[in-house]
């Protein structure tokens, strides 16, 4: 019976999988050759580019068409999200592998509302907010908003009261963009919205406060503080911790008054997830064996660490299938000397190293 349901579920998921997600932008699209030729052709093409991306919903296409550079920024966000995901999952059974020429860049893996899906949603929302905020700071995006944090009744132009931080627009944009795809009324949508928000909050929570005094004689009678955008790696680390402690939830409908749907932990004795926690609905699929339909590559051929007791250890990573040890010649850059700005003089060191590969 259980098997039957699993098959049904998979079939349903495959039916849905026609729609990809915006992080498909990280995959090299067929029109990149055109887009990269020169800036002028890019500017004339950008509208078409956005329309051609079938994995975007209508609102996302609108946002994409805001300006010439927007699609570039979106692409940067997607690329960084995938890169960061692969870094964070480098030791896991599913190493955030991407599939070429698929409707979804991660294959069908994320059709399960698993921990991994939660992580990818959060990370991509965070990476988008981060990329947009960076573009704002660089002055590339003219659209960055200037909602002054001073009250509405004062004149709201920049010269009067300045602008809000760039991350604010980044978050707003990320919310508008990634959340527009999700439907609040489905369980899946509710969970994705929660995880997107958790990702954005991870960026905000990692901001670093810097202050400068410039009062009389440079004293601290007048002090101004601002916040620095964190490195995406820090956000990835934070989300990775959240991933490990993610909550398994179910959607509870409250009939009283309006139809309010809320996320509650699966088991009553577990802590209620707060806004920064990641949540998931289903257990992860089996990542050990290859599954072409889901785009799971399996752990066959992965390098493992014989001495580690963690996830990257051979026992866990190879799913108990055992491993082969090969001695390989290893080449590595060593004794590097860095010359500002752009040169690194390194020697190449060769040594032999044991290499463990899963069966």
């Amino acid at each position: 019976m259980k098997l039957f349901w699993k098959v049904v579920c998979t079939l349903l998921l495959l039916a849905q999988a026609v729609m990809g997600n915006w992080w498909n932008l990280a995959a090299p699209p067929p029109q990149t050759q055109v887009g990269n030729t020169s800036l002028e052709t890019f500017t004339t093409l950008h509208k078409e580019n956005c329309h051609r991306l079938e994995f975007l919903v209508e609102r996302q296409k609108q946002l994409c068409m805001l300006s010439d550079t927007m699609i570039k920024v979106l692409q940067t966000g997607a690329l960084q999200a995938v890169e960061e995901c692969q870094y964070q999952f480098r030791h896991s059974r599913w190493n955030c592998s991407t599939v070429e020429n698929a409707t979804d860049i991660f294959g069908g893996v994320l059709k399960f509302k698993s921990r991994e899906s939660a992580f990818v949603h959060a990370l991509s929302a965070a990476a988008l907010a981060h990329a947009v905020a960076r573009a704002c700071s660089r002055g590339e995006l003219n659209e960055c908003s200037c909602d002054s944090r001073v009250r509405k009744r004062t004149p709201r132009h920049w010269q009067w009261g300045g602008c809000s931080e760039d991350i604010r627009y980044g978050e707003m944009f990320s919310k508008d963009f990634s959340d527009s795809k999700e439907d609040k009324n489905t369980d899946e949508g509710l969970v994705n919205l929660h995880n997107n928000e958790a990702g954005r909050r991870a960026v905000r929570g990692r901001m670093q406060r810097v202050c400068k005094c410039h009062g009389m004689s440079g004293s601290c009678s007048v002090r101004v503080c601002w916040r620095r955008l964190p490195q995406l790696r820090m956000v990835g680390d934070a989300l990775s911790t959240r991933y490990e402690g993610a909550s398994h939830v179910k959607v509870v409908e409250r009939k009283r008054g309006k139809n309010i749907r809320k996320l509650r932990p699966m088991h009553m004795d577990m802590k209620k997830p707060n806004k920064t926690d990641l949540v998931y609905l289903e257990d992860s699929p089996d990542y050990c064996e290859p599954n072409d339909e889901l785009g799971i590559l399996g752990t066959r051929g992965r390098t493992c660490n014989r001495t580690s007791a963690g996830l990257d250890g051979c026992r866990l990573l190879c799913c108990g299938r055992g491993y082969q040890t090969r001695v390989r010649d290893h080449e590595e850059k060593c004794r590097c000397r860095f010359v500002w700005c752009c040169k690194v003089h390194c020697e190449i060191c060769r040594f032999k190293r044991d290499h463990h590969v899963c069966n």
């Binding site: 700071s137 009067w160 400068k212 410039h214 620095r228």
Partner: protein
């Protein structure tokens, strides 16, 4: 014989005056909190890495920027470029950055511009950054005005500067960034032009130059400017206070000149205090809207310093004049207080020298910082510590003097019961009002300190209610500024000589005062003497009693 107004003012009138001043105080606070935006605004600008294609690298007519006509070719520093050398890399910061699809420009109301640089350095196990290394920066600042062609940047200033780079890292792993301290880069005392452009290069002229700074990935510039709205509110306050204080000063001085005697020391001090406040209030910032005046930051410091010096001196002399130990015949002068005032002078002079060394030199070179060289750091620290010691000594001295005054008062008060009732009531009134003013001073000082600490503790903005958002920092500044103006206004009013001895006075309704007048007149020691406060005369009278 003269008293001051505070002694002869009825309780009701005093209450009215005090509540009026309190009302003004609250207004000042609310203007800052509700109308003004926060005092300063920051913009974080991520540097665009431009490729310098020119052959002659020292050409200051060639500028690199990322927006508008003639923008530069960008380089990705994440990759290694073997065809590039350090002279080809320019970090360009074009300010202000655009918002809401509009190209913003600086307004002269924004007064000043401070630049702080932050570098993102990637960790490489092979190239570790030393905890305290020196970075050499070739910084060039250019400006452009509205209406100029987009590629016509003009050199504003240029300098090669050294700065300390303090970096540490928690996770020593590839791809992680160092946590580097912010580097103060420049301070412009006037924001005269519309657009600015900073080009930063990191030269390598000697083998050790810029060799231990690791792999710079990004450079962030945070530009801080005063908010236009804050300047407007601040200047309006000044424009209101300036004529008020001038007016009350004229009234005060005329009142003194109506007397037969010469002005006494405390009156002169009050006048000096008023003048120092006028200097502080003078809204000369209006001139910056039409002229390029880079010395405004320095001038502001000097004006503030002068005011503080006068205020501190006044408190000392005020306490000293109520010490009740001088002989009545001697006309007291500032010379008697030279020992007391030397602490104030010392503090002010050392701060002034420090300021001249830092902000004075910045007039010539906005990139200058005294803290870079060891000698400069020691020099600056010496002056700051000297100023700190002077302040400490001053406050100890002041507290000691005030304590003595209170001891004197309590001694004399013991003889109060032996006096007749009318006189006793009057004397108690004087003590009460003297203490009232002492209390006001303490209250003002305490409020300033508490407000300052609250501002430091609070994370910028305070929300007291869902709907009422109070801009606390601005409210603190306008509140404190208003408070000291009101304080000095009150001093000038209440310590002006009273004209009570003339038969036709404004306060005839105050019958008690009239009886006091009669009580006062027969005392021999009062005649012809020149005490300012009848507190002193009261003490002398009690000795006669």
């Amino acid at each position: 014989m003269t008293g001051t107004i505070i002694e002869n003012l009825s309780g009701r009138k005093l209450a009215i005056l005090v509540s009026f001043l309190l009302f003004c105080q609250v207004t000042c606070f609310l203007i800052g909190g509700l109308v003004a935006p926060m005092p300063a605004n920051t913009q974080n600008i991520l540097g665009t890495v431009c490729r310098d294609m020119s052959i002659v690298k020292n050409d200051t007519t060639k500028w690199y920027y990322n927006r508008g006509k003639g923008s530069c070719k960008t380089v990705d520093l994440g990759e290694t470029h073997h065809d590039l050398s350090e002279t080809d890399i320019v970090f360009a910061f074009q300010m202000p950055v655009p918002r809401e699809s509009k190209i913003l420009d600086y307004s002269r109301w924004q007064q000043n511009l401070i630049g702080v640089l932050q570098v993102d350095i990637k960790y490489h196990s092979q190239i570790e950054v030393q905890p305290r290394s020196t970075i050499t920066i070739d910084a060039r600042l250019a400006y452009r005005n509205k209406g100029d062609p987009e590629d016509q940047w003009k050199l504003y200033t240029q300098s090669v500067e050294k700065r300390h780079l303090d970096c540490d890292i928690d996770v020593k792993s590839e791809e992680y960034l160092y946590n580097c301290s912010a580097i103060p880069l420049f301070e412009l005392g006037s924001l005269f032009h519309d657009y600015y452009l900073l080009n930063v290069r990191l030269p390598v002229e000697t083998p050790t130059m810029n060799s231990h700074i690791g792999h710079i990935q990004d450079m962030w510039l945070t530009v801080i400017n005063q908010n236009g709205g804050f300047t407007k509110v601040w200047l309006s306050l000044k424009t209101v206070f300036f004529p008020c204080i001038i007016g009350i000063l004229v009234w005060f001085w005329r009142r003194i000149h109506m007397l037969q005697r010469k002005p006494v020391l405390l009156e002169k001090m009050l006048l000096a205090l008023g003048l120092a406040l006028c200097l502080l209030n003078m809204p000369i910032e209006y001139l910056t809207l039409h002229f390029d005046l880079p010395f405004m930051l320095l001038l502001g410091d000097i004006r503030q310093g002068l005011f503080y010096a006068t205020l501190f001196s006044f408190w000392l002399i005020f306490a000293g004049e109520h010490m009740l130990i001088q002989d009545a015949s001697a006309q007291s002068s500032v010379k008697q207080y030279w020992r007391h005032l030397s602490a104030v002078a010392m503090g002010c002079i050392s701060l002034f020298i420090f300021d001249m060394c830092e902000r004075g030199v910045q007039l010539r070179n906005p990139f200058y910082s005294i803290w870079v060289t060891d000698i400069g750091t020691n020099l600056a620290l010496t002056f700051i510590i000297l100023a700190g010691i002077s302040t400490g000594v001053y406050f100890l001295f002041l507290c000691y003097m005030i304590w003595q005054v209170f001891i004197n008062i309590s001694h004399k008060r013991q003889s109060l019961p032996t006096m007749c009732s009318v006189r006793r009531l009057h004397y108690e009134g004087i003590i009460y009002r003297f203490k009232f003013l002492m209390l006001a001073t303490l209250l003002c000082a305490a409020l300033t300190v508490i407000g300052f600490i609250l501002g430091q503790v609070a994370e910028g903005q305070w929300k007291w209610d869902e709907n009422i958002e109070l801009e606390y920092t601005s409210a603190f500044f306008t509140g404190v500024y208003g408070m000291w103006n009101i304080y000095i206004f009150a001093l000038l009013v209440l310590y002006a000589p009273s004209h009570k001895r003339w038969p036709v006075v404004e306060n005839t309704s105050d019958t008690q005062n009239l009886s006091e007048e009669m009580e006062f007149s027969p005392l021999p020691s009062e005649r012809g003497s020149s005490e300012i406060s009848s507190l002193t005369s009261f003490i002398r009278k009690t000795t006669i009693d």
